[in-house]
Amino acid sequence: MPLRLWRKPLDSEKIKIPEGEVHVLKDRCKGCGFCIEFCPKEVLEQSEEFNIKGVHPPQVKEETVCILCSFCEAVCPDFAIFSVKKDCKGGC
């Protein structure tokens, strides 16, 4: 199970936000809440849904501004979240 999960995180979610894009690999999340608590821009919140570990993974709040500081990525103990520069090919 872990191997499959690790290689094909099909549950990866892409959420578009102005500067950075935050990707959550939901089923890796153990629900510590560090990303939500310590994001300097309060971009994230707990979602309602349960992942396969039975915890609520984070989701992006509406209309917030990610400054691409990548703090969530660095503070996540489970490699479940990362941010990338927004892909503007489709027009921002």
Binding site: P2, L3, L5, W6, R7, K8, P9, L10, S12, K14, H23, L25, R28, K30, G31, C32, G33, F34, E37, F38, V55, F71, E73, A74, V75, C76, P77, D78, F79, F82, V84
Partner: protein, 279 residues
Amino acid sequence: MSEDSHPFERFLRDGMMPHIWCEGCGNGIILNCFVRALKDIEIDVNKVVVVSGIGCIGRLSGYTNTDSYHTTHGRAIAFATGAKLANPELKTVVISGDGDLFAIGGNHFIHAARRNVDIQVICANNFNYGMTGGQYGPTTPLKAWTTTTPYGNIEHPFNLVHLAAASGAVYVARWTTLHVRRLTESIKKVLQKEGFSFIEVITPCPEIYGRRNKMATGIEMMNWFKTAAEIRNASDPAEAEISPEKIVVGEFIDAEKPTYDHLLREMMKQVQERIRGEK
């Protein structure tokens, strides 16, 4: 970059995730910062050997996609000394726990520091023996509660950065798992430094330690770090206190001194030249 793969994936060993650590444990953050440092400095990962002892954090060596070795309890530094001296091209990094490195392995730590063997040591200090269920250890604060201090701890803890400095380490820093940027910078620095280097990382163990000490979640412990941490770079490590009110962090020492490895190779060269001369 692919949207559904984490940027650090290739630095993690296939088939080993998810790791064993609890929700809210800081060990994953240390792993995260370590692999980020590997990625950032573009080091030849084939030459990196990660060595750990026994404990929760001791499992870290299994998670990095490097050569790695999980020793017996307390012997990571001695093992790394052998590997590094046998092959000077290796970058031997020891990542282990406060109990592992400073109780059962304390003797190896002070002597490797004294010799200035070129190994880099990162200690996950969670103030207790996590793996065995939360007994007190050499870093448990006075009066803290653990399963073997049911009436409060009556032992004085080590100040690890002071100990490392006094033993001769050429690089000494302390961060918490909230200081992800600075911690990563420190790791990058020691990966490029020669000589015995030491980074203490204060890390939450909410499950086992926090719960008994009025900080039941990782967030509560991290918030303690946030409010108590005071950065004092280049200050005297002897003064670097850890208390409920204050956690002094920073880079305390960054010095140069001939490494054991260097002196050893010099000596070997001289001996061999002398023999050639005799012939």
